[in-house]
Subunit: 209 residues, 8 copies
Amino acid sequence: MSDAASNRVTIDPSDTVLLLIDHQAGLLLTVRDIDAAELRTNVSVLATLGELLSIPTFTTASEPDGPNGRTIPEVRSQAPRARHIARRGEINAWDNEDFVSAVRATGRKTLLIAGIWTSVCVALPALAARAEGYRVYAVMDASGDVSEFVSRVTLARIVQAGVVPTSVNAVISELQHRWRGPLDADFAAMYMKAVPSYAAVVDCHTRTK
Amino acid sequence: MSDAASNRVTIDPSDTVLLLIDHQAGLLLTVRDIDAAELRTNVSVLATLGELLSIPTFTTASEPDGPNGRTIPEVRSQAPRARHIARRGEINAWDNEDFVSAVRATGRKTLLIAGIWTSVCVALPALAARAEGYRVYAVMDASGDVSEFVSRVTLARIVQAGVVPTSVNAVISELQHRWRGPLDADFAAMYMKAVPSYAAVVDCHTRTK
Amino acid sequence: MSDAASNRVTIDPSDTVLLLIDHQAGLLLTVRDIDAAELRTNVSVLATLGELLSIPTFTTASEPDGPNGRTIPEVRSQAPRARHIARRGEINAWDNEDFVSAVRATGRKTLLIAGIWTSVCVALPALAARAEGYRVYAVMDASGDVSEFVSRVTLARIVQAGVVPTSVNAVISELQHRWRGPLDADFAAMYMKAVPSYAAVVDCHTRTK
Amino acid sequence: MSDAASNRVTIDPSDTVLLLIDHQAGLLLTVRDIDAAELRTNVSVLATLGELLSIPTFTTASEPDGPNGRTIPEVRSQAPRARHIARRGEINAWDNEDFVSAVRATGRKTLLIAGIWTSVCVALPALAARAEGYRVYAVMDASGDVSEFVSRVTLARIVQAGVVPTSVNAVISELQHRWRGPLDADFAAMYMKAVPSYAAVVDCHTRTK
Amino acid sequence: MSDAASNRVTIDPSDTVLLLIDHQAGLLLTVRDIDAAELRTNVSVLATLGELLSIPTFTTASEPDGPNGRTIPEVRSQAPRARHIARRGEINAWDNEDFVSAVRATGRKTLLIAGIWTSVCVALPALAARAEGYRVYAVMDASGDVSEFVSRVTLARIVQAGVVPTSVNAVISELQHRWRGPLDADFAAMYMKAVPSYAAVVDCHTRTK
Amino acid sequence: MSDAASNRVTIDPSDTVLLLIDHQAGLLLTVRDIDAAELRTNVSVLATLGELLSIPTFTTASEPDGPNGRTIPEVRSQAPRARHIARRGEINAWDNEDFVSAVRATGRKTLLIAGIWTSVCVALPALAARAEGYRVYAVMDASGDVSEFVSRVTLARIVQAGVVPTSVNAVISELQHRWRGPLDADFAAMYMKAVPSYAAVVDCHTRTK
Amino acid sequence: MSDAASNRVTIDPSDTVLLLIDHQAGLLLTVRDIDAAELRTNVSVLATLGELLSIPTFTTASEPDGPNGRTIPEVRSQAPRARHIARRGEINAWDNEDFVSAVRATGRKTLLIAGIWTSVCVALPALAARAEGYRVYAVMDASGDVSEFVSRVTLARIVQAGVVPTSVNAVISELQHRWRGPLDADFAAMYMKAVPSYAAVVDCHTRTK
Amino acid sequence: MSDAASNRVTIDPSDTVLLLIDHQAGLLLTVRDIDAAELRTNVSVLATLGELLSIPTFTTASEPDGPNGRTIPEVRSQAPRARHIARRGEINAWDNEDFVSAVRATGRKTLLIAGIWTSVCVALPALAARAEGYRVYAVMDASGDVSEFVSRVTLARIVQAGVVPTSVNAVISELQHRWRGPLDADFAAMYMKAVPSYAAVVDCHTRTK
């Protein structure tokens, strides 16, 4: 496990692509390892983050006219510049040529992936991209799986293969890098959204001053 | 347990008062039996419900200039017509004459109470009002307590005394009474807010049509 | 709590009505206090039980053309003789005159109720019927609620009001009353369906003989 | 709830009968609310207690030649003087005339009941005996049920009906009444068996002296 | 459940006796329903509260020279004026004449009881005192039991008998009654000790000012 | 961990063998890390999958005439073409020459293994095959272990050794590869069986159209 | 992770040493990640296994005259031939020359280690021995740690270093290797002791025949 | 994973630096994977340990004038010689030159890191330092994260990168190395503070002697 993917600490926004895969209304209803509201909030924060830092963002959906349903609306509303790439039935988005070509065209080598189900829609592209040499981060709490048991199994599987598991609060931190910049208010808003108790802390602080 | 409080099923909006007690930013930080975001959402729905149905709504706060902090902003924003009643140090809001007088002045005998901590700010007024003959409903998931253990103890205590425990989804249902009225869209929005998975079900349904 | 409802032990099939309320596909997706597959199996066993013992069975659904969805198919397939009663928007089935009239017309005074959500679709009719003097059993594991927290609150509420909480395995037992009758095989099949580990025990026993 | 059953604190051994119902090997395999080893130990302690204090003890089994299996051996080995009463298919032991006659013949009015499943084999006789005026104690941790959910439902049901729920450590304590008698060593051994951490405390104390 | 014990809301310090029963080092090692450190802290707060408000406080221990061990030191250090009453082997402290006489001699009718094990050392005296007409509060989180399962069973048992279950934070609140008195700092210190997250809230508030 | 086993993403059906080991009725009764009904369903789906895609499938059982019991019937009914290989007492199926020879004779190098207990019947053959260079997938939720603790230990052990842990929904996805083929209905049925909430989503979608 | 320790599947009894470290009565009282009774049983089974197969077994204790206490008696009673090695204050048994010399003198290179606390008494010698090239197995459920959180951290730490985590049922299986040998009854007894539900399965099977 | 970081067992105090990062009152309020009181105690023990063994200790805080709040007071009170290093907005302390320089100036190569949030304030510096060749230990139970889910993800991430996860009780043990030295009493006090049940064991032992 001595390669760059694990040694590099800070995600470089200029080398990063954000992939939001199959956050569809029907699939969301099958998620059991994280609260649905929390998951929606976390995906929304990732989308906002991509928009704010101009990170190329791609969305895709699996059979959106079937029971899996359409992509939840907050993905588009938070990331209006994201490009949606339709698939032709491929379950693993990485099997779709348009999708992979779009990623490759960015010339970037770091991938942030979130999706529903983690065990399929996140794990399969993550493992494939990792095998091709990408640094791959799986944002676990912006993803969802069918049970807690399967969620733990999936975490073990992707870590075994060198995919780096992470969480939304860590992604914000790594991309923000430091306070005292022009986007401080934006980042603060994102932490408050992703970590509700932090919002209460900020409330207390603000009101007391 | 043969009295009216348990026999009557549907809450009559015209006989009801809504009491939102000590939903303060500092106290919110000590809640451990329910997710902070979920609690905020649930209180917000209760406030909206009171506003929508013109149910007299009273808010109060315990020592808001101290560490307990100010009332969280969504209470006021969702229930702009709610009347805030300041206390003079009384921990049990029912010990404050202004508060009790305000409730009595409505002439109503059914109380919906939510607050932080359930074991103190909800339980003590609820028990006091129940002892005076009010029908009292404690909205447990719009309230919060310091641990799951204390939360279970509190539930047992108030039920023992004849206070009726309930949840936000049940309160919406009892006050809505039936679909096919002019407020259907408002009620649907409240269910979707209080029960996130219901929002996804509605999403699926709407998009599919 | 000294009335008949709690003193009577065995449910008398000849005095019983089975009410299956709002077991709809959309609502099923919002259940979080019991596994969806287990809930479906348990409802199915109740329906079978009603059919087998010729217990009058009524089903109903809340706004089935909307997101709540249609009644899950196994209810009808297991209880083909059940009568479905449409509602006109009433959330509490007991507020629908057709429904209450149908129950009254049976002349029976013991109700077995299951439904989704327990906090609304079970609790409200159960409390109403109990207030009218019915013996009311709420079959908790053939019902479902929006969270474990709300599920515990609902259990406390209905018990407080004198509704008897029970489970599918207990209902089978009370209605079977004794082994060594002509329906032994049917009852055994129901236990095996409702309690999967019992099925394995029977498997072991049967194969070993 | 003002009757004798709840007011009387200490179980009077001279007024007590111990009923061990359906602790059968097959049923034991379906228990999911308590560890199988812990349940076996606890039943064994109850049997020992009955033997030691000459409390009339009755055992029974449901269809022991079928998949439910035979009574686990420690019941008989610990309580050799217990009388086993065969049933003729009745699920509720209280429906068996021989069983009820045997209890009545003792002239005692306090029942300690444990069994598998709690929801059926304990609850049904407990409710029936309570309805007939017996003081009834359900020893919850010497009993077992099919799930934690059903276990909580059953607890609520029997408490609602005035059956007193208790645990093996409490039963030992109430029957022992005070230390410094001739049976101290026997009681100490029972506490150590029922509460494994207490055994370690005693070990520490003994070795240190 | 219509008697005074449940109707009265605020504990009247002038009518109250505090009973700390069997908080012994050996027994503490067998507690499994609450963290040992949290339990010690909570007992310590109760002792402080008794001392501060001059509430008659009695401690006792079961066979302290045996494996149960001596009373944990913080009980005495926090409540130096508490009177320790030795027992002569009685398991239920209420069976000890000196203990009951001491309580009766105060002329007070409200009891706050905490102890280890809840199922025995709290429940038995609580039930006995309740049967004699005392208002009895069981402080559940200043007590400890052998398992979570037994803890839930015990809660149900004492509530059924009319003992009021409560928690340390509620006891502080009921005895404090209102802020803006001379003991505000003492009460604040007790809340901070009993609710660690409240201490952090106060820290934040204090430092920010 | 740089070898093919982790880099290859999609399981190639033409290189795969399915091994269903010791899914016996007696052993099933000892499983405590997954619901028995869920486990049976998941094994059944794996068997169906093997049959549908003509993946060579081998079953075996450990001492089926003893307490471990016979293979549960759904394995054979769903995979009628599976070959059963009897063992001569070997606990690790990989120690049985017939078993290993059968696998080798297929010329395939990817193994999908499920069994009861995961810690023994899955882990030992998986580790042995992995050591011989096979790509090995352990299907965790079609397997069962004696406790949650042991289940977590086993997951860590096999991952450490390069066995890839996976779940039934992921296996279906990897073998299906893409929608819009002739077997879509078969795959949909398998997802609906393995993920009950997905069945409800499909129900909603189908009925709404 | 490509070395022998993970590739070798079956533990070779002739190459194995069993190390039972600090299973002392005082330390046992601090264990919180596994039930005390279960842990004692599991250690006892390991000791029996060592005795039965003549595996060199070494026990040791940390400051047994202090609060840690003496080794629990079943270790010696089950493994009378085990050699106890006293330490001179070293916390890590591997720092004690006598201990390491004794292990080396056996000429064996596979270590089975269990102890209390897992995070210290198991982890430190396991890591040290692993660093010296031993194959090291940590028997997690015959060991105990101070919390579930610390237990999970420890598991991750030792796995990271190449120590193989395992459980008692797997150790029995690997050492038994195959049924149909002269020790079948002994092994069956060990499984029944380590896995209580297996004992019930055997009971059912035996009685039915 | 064959490098020194995992092979070396005992932490060498003379090669070690202790880094306590962002243990701030505001951040403490957002911790959800460990009890706040337990976390404070554990950090305090680490600080004491550094002071006692003269291990260079550095503290830092993220934007202490904002809502994150000031460092909790026990850090300074327990480690008065610790050097506090202010940051200029950097989120990852390792990005602050003063901080890294201070660490480098010690010439030591082993880092013990604890902080709030584990996923950010511990993980990012730990990964960075590990990438530079330091032996890095993350003291998980002296750190805190925003949820249990994120906590498990973070553990997997740092272990994957070769950071060694550990716990306070293990750190004390590794640094103490052996009993029977001049600091025995100090170490005993630390164990008693970090493991409350150990304190009770010591109490029992001491009082009994």
